[in-house]
């Protein structure tokens, strides 16, 4: 623990919060004041707490409440749109919001004293991951030079980058190409969040009844010393484990010096967050149909 107050009355400068860390995006949960036990014919008010715990802003996110409408009929519009600011230096906790939703039970089947059915909240939104890693580029693959400033080795990125889809590892590879050396970078990407990855284009449609193709496609952009790398436009994430993406840079002369640089990776995708509230409906003794 770093003491906040040093001797002689001098204050230590607070470290800036690390915004680009964590593996969450939107956190959605039913508020504890939501009515999960209702009586037959009764109205239920539920509240969903939303928090953007990631570093990217959510804008125009679609949401929907799914219920067994034969027993829990929505009184409010069951779908909608919301936006939520991400974590920033000015708002290190991220934006928060609350959605309310009203339902009503329209009666239970005869001779049934209780019934249980889930109420599902689902939000579909676009999200972005920005990762940077210090890597070493060494065109001297024969290792003839001495006193190099760095050595080529894989770089691990743990803890996420403030988004559910994270770059977990980068492996620089020096590939000879004729008289030159072409730096190539293997970027390993993985969904570390609780939700599902969908393509950016279909992000909002995933939360609707419209026909949509769901694929866990991620759009990718990588940049090194201000130059965009040659990467595939999009990749489909492996269902399990890490997905390897190869980006290549322009070829360098084999006599060029060894240097260290920052690799910048930007991933764009759609993300789906779900929360479930089991609702129990009970009939009161001598209760008449609704």
């Amino acid at each position: 623990m770093v003491p906040s107050q040093l001797p002689f009355g001098k204050q230590q400068v607070k470290a800036l919060p690390n915004i680009l860390s964590g593996t969450s995006a939107l956190q959605a949960s039913f508020n504890k004041n939501s009515m999960s036990n209702i009586y037959m014919c009764q109205q239920a008010n539920v509240f969903v707490d939303l928090k953007n715990a990631g570093a990217s802003n959510i804008s125009g996110a679609a949401y929907i409440f799914i219920s067994e409408e034969q027993y829990l009929k929505p009184l409010d519009k069951k779908s909608g749109v919301f936006s939520l600011e991400g974590k920033s230096l000015y708002n290190p906790n991220g934006g928060i919001a609350q959605l309310s939703f009203k339902l009503e039970n329209k009666g239970l089947p005869p001779q049934l004293e209780s019934y249980s059915s889930p109420l599902i909240f689902q939000a579909c939104y676009k999200y972005q991951t920005v990762a940077n890693a210090q890597i070493c580029i060494d065109p001297d693959i024969s290792n003839l030079k001495r006193g190099k400033v760095c050595s080529v080795q894989p770089v691990s990125l743990s803890g996420g980058q403030g988004a559910p889809v994270a770059v977990v590892r980068v492996e620089p590879l020096m590939v000879p190409e004729k008289d030159k050396v072409k730096p190539m970078l293997a970027v390993y990407v993985k969904n570390l969040g609780d939700g599902a990855v969908i393509s950016q284009e279909n992000a909002e449609l995933a939360c609707s009844g419209k026909k949509v193709t769901l694929s866990s496609t991620v759009a990718l952009r990588a940049e090194m010393f201000g130059v965009e790398l040659d990467c595939p436009d999009s990749v489909r994430l492996e269902p399990q484990g890490e997905t390897r993406i190869i980006c290549s840079s322009t070829a360098l002369s084999s006599s060029a010096d060894t240097f260290s640089t920052v690799l910048l990776v930007q991933l764009d995708y759609g993300y789906v967050t779900t929360a479930v509230l089991p609702v129990s409906i009970n009939a009161i003794a001598e209760q008449k149909p609704c």
Binding site: P109, Q111, L112, S114, A196, S208, G209, K211, T213, V276
Partner: protein, 664 residues
């Protein structure tokens, strides 16, 4: 014993020394002869028998042959046998050199064997003479009158019995008085037959024991026979002649009737301790006894008898319990409770068997895909119609008496449901035409939680028939059972996309109940539903097979072990919005493109057949008229299939009655 024993002296007779002459040698002591008339001993040479006074002018009896004792001869025979064997071996070894010696010893052995046979004969004759003389002397004793001798006189026994009889009659104990007289007469007869009236007096134990039984309220024909049998055994045991026989009879008796005795003693012990202990004690003893009978080495005939006697006994107590003890006596009640415990145990085993059979049957049907399961909805009380506290006012009735059986009809229906119509009747088991009248009324309309006392009356028990009979109460009632099956619906392309990503489509929506089981409301009938794999895929118009929906399997089975489904009066099948019922078991019996299908009358009769055999599974083929309506603008929809069935169910409960007397 040395030599052939002469007849020993008895009451008042001087002891006579037994002679012990060597074989073929004259007796050393003066010889004795036996009176031919009274078989008493008499010194040789006397013209008149000293004991019975009879004339011995006839041919004088030969003195009893004397010789070596049986034991000596047996010892000698054994020794000679050994020697003959040894000598034979020697003859073989010496190639006939000692053959002569062997032949001599063999001849000696033969002589000894003959002598032994004769000695045994002599001994047995002497024994019988002795017994005969003893009894004769007892009756013919003319010594001074002692109390012992007095009570040994048949006349005295008769006088005592008569006085007791008259006294007991006077104090109105007629039954005991009769037993006293009977016992007295029997003791006199025994005294005359066995020449020992004092032993006959033992028979007077009979009235004493009968009196005790009377005090315990246990006088029954069976118990009286047991008492007489017991005392007879006791008397027979006092005679040397019969002792061995009685011992054998007792041994075999205990082996053969051990089960009966254990059961009897068990019930008896319960009466004594005043509480009914767990029947498992008796059951364990009975099992131990039957194991003993099965595994003990005994003659097959005895073993067979043991089994037959016990089976007959249990058959009797199970069918005619009153034969054991009078009704309402403590002994009867304890036997009855024992019997009831066994009946319960057996019916428990029967129910368990039924459960196992039902489980196996369900597994079989499930394996062949012809059975849909369901779970009963949790209810505060079990729903249905129940017959409780079935009983009978008098378990044993005369043919001219009336039979009054009673019970409580209890209805547990749901609060908001319609009243339940119940019809009650009662009849003799397996003879439904012999019906009793139900009081106060045979038809009820019962609402919610209600109960009604009912009585079944047969004005004349003779109509029911003589012997043990079972009166069955039968309640038939209309009831409704509903079932619900939650299902999930998604577009097929969406399902495929998620599966391609190796994701469970339902996991994507946080659903944990991935294979919902149908929930049916309580009652006698179980309804199971199944709609295939979840989530149900909705096809696009462009896809082949568009319009066909999931097939709903509906299984009807008994939820109660008792009773039977008599008739199905109405069946309502309801599918989610956007779906339609196409056909039921391939029959187009529902209105075209309808979401609800209500079946009644002939359509149901054809569907279920008569009589209805359960479990019965029907398959409802559905169509999807509007996938958007099913989804209702959501990526996934939760909808329920509903089935409601109205039916008539019948339950029966019986009560036993024993009708006695001669039927007209």
């Amino acid at each position: 014993m040395v030599g052939a024993p002469p007849v020993n002296g008895s009451v008042g007779a001087p002891p006579v020394a037994p002679p012990s002459p060597p074989p073929q040698a004259p007796p050393a002591a003066p010889p004795q002869i036996t009176c031919p008339n009274c078989t008493g001993p008499n010194p040789a040479g006397s013209a008149v028998c000293q004991w019975c006074g009879s004339n011995l002018s006839g041919p004088v009896a030969k003195p009893a042959p004397a010789g070596e004792s049986v034991e000596d001869l047996q010892r000698k025979e054994k020794q000679l046998k050994r020697e003959v064997v040894g000598s034979t071996i020697m003859a073989v070894a010496t190639e006939g050199a000692t053959a002569g010696e062997t032949a001599g010893k063999a001849a000696q052995l033969k002589q000894t064997e003959e002598a032994l046979k004769e000695a045994k004969k002599r001994e047995s004759e002497a024994e019988s003479r002795k017994n005969s003389a003893e009894s004769k002397l007892a009756t013919a004793s003319t010594g001074p009158l002692t109390p012992k001798k007095l009570f040994a006189q048949p006349a005295m026994v008769f006088v005592i019995s008569l006085v007791l009889f008259l006294y007991l009659r006077y104090i109105k104990m007629n039954s005991i008085a009769n037993w006293v007289l009977i016992s007295g007469l029997i003791s006199i007869i025994i005294g005359i037959i066995f020449k020992e009236p004092k032993k006959g007096l033992l028979f007077l134990l009979v009235p004493l024991l009968i009196g005790f039984l009377n005090m315990m309220n246990l006088v029954t024909p069976a118990n009286s026979i047991i008492v007489v049998g017991f005392v007879s055994m006791l008397i027979l045991l006092t005679f040397e002649k019969t002792r061995e026989f009685v011992n054998k009879v007792l041994n075999v008796g205990v082996y053969v009737a051990g089960g009966v005795l254990i059961f009897w003693l068990s019930a008896w012990a319960q009466v004594q301790i005043g509480v009914s202990y767990p029947h498992i004690v008796t059951t364990t003893l009975m099992i131990a006894y039957f194991s003993f009978v099965l595994f003990k080495k005994e003659k097959p005939a005895i073993k067979f008898s043991a089994i037959v006697v016990n089976i007959l006994f249990f058959f009797v107590i199970f069918t005619m319990p009153t034969i054991i003890a009078p009704q309402d006596s403590a002994f009867y009640n304890s036997v009855e409770s024992q019997r009831a415990a066994w009946v319960d145990m057996l019916s428990g085993v029967g129910l368990m068997g039924k459960e196992i059979y039902k489980g196996a049957q369900m597994q079989y049907y499930t394996a062949i895909g012809d059975y849909e399961s369901g779970v009963e909805a949790e209810q505060q009380k079990p729903l249905g119609v129940f017959l409780d506290n079935i009983g009978i006012s008098s378990k044993m009735v005369q043919v001219t008496d009336s039979i009054n059986a009673f019970g409580t009809l209890r209805v547990e229906s749901f609060k908001t449901a319609q009243p339940v119509d119940v019809s009650v009747r009662c009849y003799v088991k397996d003879r439904e035409n012999v019906e009793g009248s139900i009081s106060p009324t045979a038809k009820f309309s019962v609402e919610q939680y209600e109960s009604q006392d009912i009585d079944c009356i047969f004005p004349e028990a003779g109509d029911v028939g003589v012997g043990p009979q079972v009166i069955d109460f039968e309640a038939s009632f209309s009831f409704t059972t509903s079932a619900y099956l939650k299902s999930y619906f998604m577009e097929q392309s969406r399902i495929r996309d998620l599966r391609r990503q190796e994701k469970d489509p339902l996991d994507a929506f946080g659903i944990t109940d991935k294979n919902p089981v149908a929930v049916f409301t309580g009652g006698p009938l179980m309804i199971g539903l199944g709609a295939g794999q979840q989530p149900v895929a909705l096809l696009d118009k462009s896809q082949p097979g568009f319009g066909s929906g999931p097939t709903l399997g509906i299984t009807f089975d008994k939820n109660w072990l008792e009773g039977e489904l008599l008739n199905v009066t109405r069946l309502n099948i309801s599918v989610p919005s956007g779906l339609t019922v196409n056909d039921v078991d391939g029959r187009k019996i529902c209105p075209d493109k309808s979401q609800n299908c209500v079946l009644e009358g002939d359509a149901l009769k054809r569907l279920f057949g008569k009589p209805i055999v359960l479990p019965k599974t029907i398959r409802v083929h559905t169509g999807i008229s509007d996938p958007a309506l099913v989804l209702s603008n959501a990526p996934m929809a939760i909808q329920s299939f509903k089935v409601g069935v109205e039916y008539v169910y019948v339950i029966r409960k019986g009560v036993e009655v024993i009708v006695t007397g001669v039927s007209s």
